[in-house]
């Protein structure tokens, strides 16, 4: 396929050439015709000028007197011996040669010459000459005037033809919808448009992927909502069957639990949606991890106390500042602490600390719950993933939310469950942005710190 530039150049140049040839030929014929006509007029004027010599003034010619060349002849003594026109008697302009003079309100072009014994002067009104010249010029121009609309049509067709791939592309893009995001074909497209198609295809692919993810999420969410709803419905029916007040009280208590669970799932779904990549824009707040940890511990203290779980922060003299979104980081830490409390047995221990790992600020949450099996460790970040035989109820979204927020903050998550010592340790390392590398401190190994 030729480039658009080549196509336009080829067709327009070709078209112009053909048109110019036609117009040139027409001009050639026209000018020849005009020249012949002019010569004819000269012939006629010559005869008219000389008709006075014969003394026979043709009365028919009087009408054309205006056009006429006035020829006058003077003898040596300066006596006018001949004049082609009786009406227009012009004075003698002795200096000779070409000149333009004004007589009355009329301009005349005069040529005069002294010929041995006589002085001959020929004069012609300037307006007649002008009119004749204009007429000839205008007639010669006409092929070019005709050429303009022809060229217009030619340009219209050529540009239209060259733009046809663009129109096809526009049609193809127009036919795409949220349901049909198949890539566009680059076949038969000029090289200038190919990059556009490639960029569009990339975009379509990304969109398709994003839509598929979103659809899967909605389907998963609807599916996941069914479980708490089933539990609610069943419990409601059991409450209806309750034979006495005591049974009814138990049934209602359970009903509340199930409602809380459904609400929490909805809440977590909303949080996840709000922490999807690209949703949170402001990541430029300075967040003190130590301070954040203290706030979260304060939030969860009552819950932990009720279950006799020892929840605390390892205080550090260093303030660990990370750049990020304070709300998102709060949600992240809340989810991790919530998980730790959920999976810890009554009387357990949950520690939050803010170590420095390889020069980067970090957050660490350690519990002494059951931990996460090695082969589940990559899957726990999937939405709605739940391990086998887990007794604690969770939405299955907590760690997915944590992952989203961590990704947005360029933080890496490490899970460690050691077999000899039960419990899960979650470590988040906040790698500084690309231009601000963490200080390399290889002596502090991740597993040792």
């Amino acid at each position: 396929m030729r480039t658009l530039r080549q196509q336009l150049l080829l067709w327009l140049l070709g078209g112009m050439f053909v048109c110019s040839m036609i117009a040139g030929s027409a001009l050639y014929l026209k000018v020849r015709e005009e020249a012949n006509e002019l010569f004819d007029v000269q012939l006629r004027q010559a005869t008219q000028s000389l008709s006075a010599l014969t003394g026979v003034a043709d009365s028919d010619d009087h009408e054309e007197l205006e056009d006429q060349v006035v020829v006058q002849v003077w003898d040596q003594k300066g006596v006018l011996v001949y004049s082609s026109s009786l009406q227009a008697a012009l004075p003698r302009y002795a200096q000779g040669g070409y000149q333009t003079v004004r007589i009355g309100d009329k301009h005349w072009r005069i040529y005069a010459k002294n010929r041995q014994s006589v002085f001959i002067q020929a004069a012609q009104p300037v307006d007649v000459r002008e009119a004749l010249a204009k007429k000839i010029a205008m007639r010669s121009l006409s092929p070019f005037l005709l050429l303009i609309p022809v060229l217009g049509v030619l340009i219209w067709i050529v540009v239209g033809r060259s733009m046809r791939p663009l129109n096809r592309l526009a049609d193809a893009v127009g036919r795409r919808s949220a349901d049909a995001l198949q890539p566009l074909s680059a076949d038969g497209l000029p090289p200038e448009i190919r990059p556009v198609v490639e960029a569009l295809n990339d975009l379509l692919e990304q969109l398709d992927h994003a839509l598929a993810t979103q659809r899967a999420f909605v389907a998963d969410a609807a599916h996941e909502l069914r479980s708490p709803l089933t539990a609610l419905k069943l419990q409601l029916q059991l409450a209806e069957y309750a034979a006495n007040d005591e049974q009814r009280a138990v049934a209602f208590h359970k009903l509340h639990d199930r409602l809380d669970r459904a609400s929490r799932l909805v809440q977590q779904l909303l949080t996840l949606a709000r922490q999807e990549p690209g949703y949170v824009r402001d990541h430029n707040e300075a967040v003190d991890l130590q301070l954040l940890a203290q706030q979260i511990v304060a939030d969860y203290y009552v819950l932990a106390e009720r279950r006799k779980i020892d929840l605390g922060v390892e205080t550090s003299s260093l303030s660990q500042i990370v750049q990020g979104n304070a709300d998102s980081l709060r949600i992240l830490l809340s989810n991790l602490v919530d998980n730790a409390l959920r999976y810890s047995a009554n009387g357990g221990k949950v520690d939050i600390s803010t170590p420095v790992i390889e020069g980067c600020p970090a957050l660490r949450i350690a519990d002494n719950g059951p931990g996460i099996a090695q082969n589940d460790q990559t899957r726990v970040f999937d939405r709605f993933f739940r391990g086998e035989e887990t007794t604690a109820w969770g939405s299955g979204l907590g760690l997915a939310i944590v992952k989203n927020i961590a990704d947005a903050h360029a933080a890496t998550i490490h899970l460690t469950t050691t077999s000899e010592k039960h419990g899960l340790t979650v470590t988040l390392v906040f790698h500084r942005s690309k231009n601000q590398q963490c200080i390399e401190m290889h002596s502090t190994n991740l597993s040792k710190t």
């Binding site: 069914r226 419990q235 391990g387």
Partner: protein, 220 residues
């Protein structure tokens, strides 16, 4: 009637178990596919309620494996997956019925009754035998038109013996039908219930097959 409930969701499992117990079914509740397989290999169940969305070992795998090993207990699938394709897959894997979450407890119980009835080859919802009429839905029992008052265990035992009649059932089998894992079984309870039933139905209604078990004959 003993039912195996395979459900990983704590709250749903709890409610279904309670609902089934209220209807005097003996229930064993397992929370994973692997324990379900173990339970199926060790016990005789009258019905299996199977959740498909189990972690790790999927419900369909449990079902396929069970059917391959010759298990013929009716299976009712409980699942949140409701597309026709999923239903077809479930039924083709050997399930007898399919119930989509969230379901109604009454519907679940009705389907369980229907499956149990079909499994014994009975088409009538009411069980009749020698003037005895048992309604599994309402648990009402009449003998020659007179209403009998039976306890839940007595009802379960009687249903096991007459649905259908003419089979010898061992004491162990009867115990299995009456008790789930969690229930305490005293050594002579079956005898005690048989004794109660004989008092209400007449001594000849349930025959003793010495050294084997009990039987209600087809014809008196």
């Amino acid at each position: 009637m003993r039912i195996l409930l395979v459900e990983d969701d704590q709250m749903i499992g709890e409610s279904v178990e309670e609902g089934l117990r209220l209807q005097h079914y003996a229930v064993d509740w397992v929370r994973s596919g692997s324990t379900a397989t173990v339970a199926l290999s060790c016990n005789m169940y009258d019905l299996i309620l199977l959740d498909l969305g189990l972690p790790k070992k999927l419900g369909l795998d449990v079902l396929a494996e069970y059917r391959k090993q010759g298990g013929n207990t009716p299976v009712l699938i409980l699942t949140a997956r409701d597309t026709p394709a999923e239903r077809v897959k479930g039924l083709d894997a050997g399930a007898d019925d399919y119930l989509v979450k969230p379901f109604d407890l009454n519907e679940l119980l009705a389907r369980i009754r229907a499956l149990l009835r079909r499994h014994t080859g009975r088409t009538q919802p009411i069980i009749t035998c020698h003037g005895l009429v048992l309604n599994p839905a309402s648990h009402a029992v009449t003998l020659h038109g007179a209403v009998l008052s039976l306890s839940a265990r007595e009802f379960a035992l009687l249903q096991a013996l007459i649905d259908p009649p003419g089979r010898v059932i061992s004491k162990t089998q009867l115990e299995e039908k009456l008790y789930g894992w969690q229930d305490e079984v005293e050594s002579n309870t079956v005898e005690v219930y048989i004794h109660h039933l004989r008092k209400k139905l007449g001594t000849d209604f349930i025959k003793n097959v010495r050294g084997v078990g009990y039987m209600v004959p087809d014809q008196l």
